[in-house]
């Protein structure tokens, strides 16, 4: 038999094999277990609630909040500008453009941090970048940003600065309306300035 006919038969057989096997439709994970362990230990996916509050108030265009809770919970309450991509449907193609992109910074949040972390793990292993997790989730958000507790008088100045910022942020984001308390000793001159800015924006944000 000539080489040519052998190749003919070979191609034919390979074609038969590929016609009979099912198509491989699995989305392969791009990160190995070792890569993932390093990522998880680095905890670089966490973003601070204070930072997120600052971005929301300053209307940072690169921020994309993603609510991974159920649509009902999303309807009841969600952060300003958040879109709803529940964990159960996160692999659907219609959300792919939001989750696999290189422009915006996606911040995932849920009530605690479990569901948001689960979402983040899946997205990260698929090789998607620019996805982050809101540290502490919505519960922590309410405790710290929306209803901040005044630090004790012996606290370091940074604590007071943080508290002042949270007070202002809470006003801007529609939280409890207690009067802001200033630190006994001011650390930096620009800190109060930032707060005043927030207060001016408060009515706009509240509406």
């Amino acid at each position: 038999m000539s080489i040519r006919n052998l190749i003919f038969i070979g191609l034919f057989l390979l074609g038969m094999v590929i016609a009979m096997v099912p198509e491989n439709t699995t989305k392969p994970y791009k990160l190995t277990a070792e890569d993932m362990l390093i990522e998880v230990q680095g905890a670089a996916e966490m973003v601070d609630a204070d930072e997120v509050a600052h971005w929301i108030i300053s209307k940072d265009p690169s921020l994309q909040l993603i609510d991974v809770r159920s649509p009902d919970e999303y309807q009841t309450y969600h952060l300003d500008g958040a879109i709803n991509i529940p964990l159960s449907v996160i692999l659907k193609d219609e959300y792919l453009d939001y989750l696999d992109q290189g422009i915006k910074m996606n911040v995932l949040y849920s009530n605690g941090t479990m569901n948001s972390h689960q979402s983040w793990m899946i997205l990260r292993q698929l090789g998607f970048e620019n996805n982050y997790v809101l540290q502490g989730g919505l519960n922590y958000w309410f405790d710290t940003i929306m209803n901040p507790q005044a630090p004790s008088v012996y606290s370091p100045n940074e604590e007071f600065a943080k508290y002042d910022f949270r007070k202002a942020a809470s006003g801007a984001l529609g939280g409890g309306g207690v009067v802001a308390m200033s630190a006994p000793a001011k650390t930096k001159a620009d800190k109060p300035k930032v707060i005043r800015k927030k207060k001016k924006k408060a009515p706009a944000g509240g509406c």
């Binding site: 003919f8 191609l11 074609g15 590929i18 016609a19």
Partner: protein, 196 residues
């Protein structure tokens, strides 16, 4: 793992460098197989030489089987492979113009560059024609735009339209290719030419 370039396992600059190497290899193989002779391409239409059909179809089948088996083994993510969007009317008209150019000029765009490289004057004239065609198309684009964009189907695949798996489609293409190869050889016997 793959595809290597969209996943940035191979960077953009290496991509061009590798493409350059593949291009040189492709040109060498074309020339070495005698494709820089316009008689060889014209033979396809007159039936005395069907090597062009066999070579390009074999290349297509090899690439097709390779992609499908790589996908089967999880070596490549087919969803990341670029699929050309289909504009049905411009595809049909463009195919007719290109086919006519094949017979009249005796080259396809790739083989014309190959033949020009070994100094064939008709191939250089052919390339001049390509450049002129590009120029007039670009200048006339506002007039042609509506037709050019008509019948847009997006990046569809025949297998999706027919509702069969990519593997079955590949098998059908292989059978079609083998049948065409046999027909081509019959044609070569029926309309032989001694010297060309």
């Amino acid at each position: 793992m793959g595809p290597l370039v969209p996943q940035e396992i191979i960077g953009a600059s290496w991509n061009l460098f590798i493409a350059f190497g593949i291009g040189i290899g492709f040109g060498f193989v074309l020339e070495q197989a005698g494709f820089s002779s316009s008689r060889k391409l014209a033979g396809m239409f007159y039936g005395y030489d069907t090597v062009v059909l066999k070579v390009f179809f074999t290349g297509a089948i090899t690439a097709m089987l390779g992609l499908l088996f790589f996908s089967l083994f999880g070596w490549i993510d087919l969803s990341l492979i670029y699929v050309n969007p289909t504009f049905i009317w411009s595809a049909i008209v463009g195919g007719i113009i290109m086919g006519a150019g094949f017979i009249i000029g005796g080259f396809c765009p790739g083989t014309s560059v190959c033949a020009a490289a070994i100094g064939k004057i008709d191939a250089m004239v052919f390339i001049g024609g390509i450049v002129l065609g590009i120029f007039f198309f670009a200048e006339g684009y506002p007039l042609l735009k509506d037709f050019y964009m008509a019948g847009s189907f997006g990046p569809i695949k025949v297998s999706d339209v027919l509702g069969i798996s990519g593997g079955v489609m590949a098998f059908l293409v292989i059978i079609a290719a083998l049948v065409m190869f046999k027909l081509g050889e019959l044609a070569e016997k029926k309309w032989p030419r001694e010297e060309y």
